[in-house]
């Protein structure tokens, strides 16, 4: 039985993520308990951790920090115990060392990189809609599930410093990392919970870890 925690820190459309995971587990016959929580003991007893995120980087980081002990608990569970971790949208961006969205802000720093603004003027911002996710690192768990369209909503992107941590890229004026990964840590810039069947295929792969 997988014990999946969707971390609730007051930001983002958490329920959609929760519903998509539940539905994916059910349809793929993965025995899983899914819970929305911000409780440190729930994190400790979990098997998988999902970090959603919407809005500004700083408000997401502040939201995390406002829960006493949550960042240390996350570090213990993800970096030490190596539980599978999945960041979505700003939840993925929080993995970076820093973000330059409205000033300079520190992130969790688990994957070397920084959050920068997509180039302005050439195309509309935010980058809203379905776009192709192209595999750049063939040896990873999502291997068979990409080169498909996923739903994006963002103006800032993850600039991966170590290309070994980039699993897939997407083009919108420039190429940016749309999936990053390092050991047990994964992050996607798009919204798998809003990307129909292709999104559920990625969630299912994460749940099978």
């Amino acid at each position: 039985m997988k014990d999946i925690i969707v971390l609730d820190y007051g930001l983002g459309n958490i329920k959609s993520v929760y519903q998509a995971i539940k539905k994916t587990a059910f349809e793929n016959k993965i025995s899983a308990k899914v819970k929305i929580s911000n409780n440190v003991s729930d994190l400790d007893s979990s098997s998988h951790i999902v970090l959603p995120g919407q809005g500004a980087f700083k408000s997401c980081m502040d939201g995390l920090k406002s829960i006493p002990g949550i960042i240390d608990t996350l570090k213990q569970n993800v970096l030490v115990q190596k539980k599978p971790f999945f960041g979505i949208c700003v939840g993925m961006q929080l993995l970076a060392k820093q973000s330059y969205e409205n000033g300079k802000h520190e992130g969790l720093g688990w994957i070397d990189g920084e959050i920068l603004k997509l180039p302005e003027k050439k195309l509309k911002l935010p980058h809203i809609g379905w776009n192709e996710v192209i595999l750049t690192n063939p040896k990873n768990i999502f291997e068979n599930f990409i080169n498909n369209d996923y739903y994006f909503v963002h103006s800032y992107y993850f600039n991966c410093k170590d290309k070994n941590n980039e699993i897939a890229k997407t083009n919108y004026v420039i190429d940016f990392s749309s999936i990053v990964g390092k050991e047990n840590i994964y992050g996607v810039q798009f919204h798998p919970e809003k990307s129909s069947d292709q999104g559920q295929a990625i969630i299912s792969k994460f749940l099978s870890l």
Binding site: Q19, I128, W130, H191, S196, Q200
Partner: protein, 251 residues
Amino acid sequence: MHKIRIIPCLDVNNGRVVKGINFLDLVDAGDPITQAEYYSKNGADEICFLDISASIEGRPTIIDVVEKTAENVFIPLTVGGGIKSIENINNLLKAGADKVSINTAGILNHKLIIDSANKFGSQCIVCAVDAKKIKDSWKVFSHGGTINTGLEAIEWMQKLQSYGAGEILLTSMDKDGTKDGFDLDLLNLATKSLEIPVIASGGAGSSPHFKEAILKGGVNAVLAASVFHFNELSIKEVKNYLKEEGIKVRF
């Protein structure tokens, strides 16, 4: 490559679809979830619910509809109609809406756009603008297109952008319901004047109309209602046509 979005819009009254698909033998054609699922499986890139409940009693039903839809449909969902407060927005987003569409309330109270974009992020704030050409320029109408606010449409949309709107849903009142194509001049002027995405609405009648809105109007999303509901066109048909014309679509 980034894909063009095709968005069907369903009118919901007291929790029931009153303007939706009516060509199929759906078990319950009035059920918003059934309709949203149908469209999701048949090529829609997003779904839009427009709550037209006139009564105060009808309002809370949309929350229930959104909740049930979000349990079953996994593409983005926008909900509009009668949104007046941060609390309304919060309730809809909590229920599972991805975006809300604000029209009259934003005209009456600009701060609602600023505050909601700050609180929830621009990505979930769609500003709907109903525009009608009077003499040489387009004016903004409020209250479901009944009141001329006197605002210049292009200036107003630029203001909405500066207030934090993430997208503009632009309806041409002159073209709405005519099925003879979008107001390309309006769309073109809007997309040239704005940095945020514009969703075209009003006038869809054939596949070439979608192409014109994209290529001549410059939009990257198109919303339509009746033309899909009455099966005059299917989303797949439109997408096949666009693909042949060299426009990137998602299948």
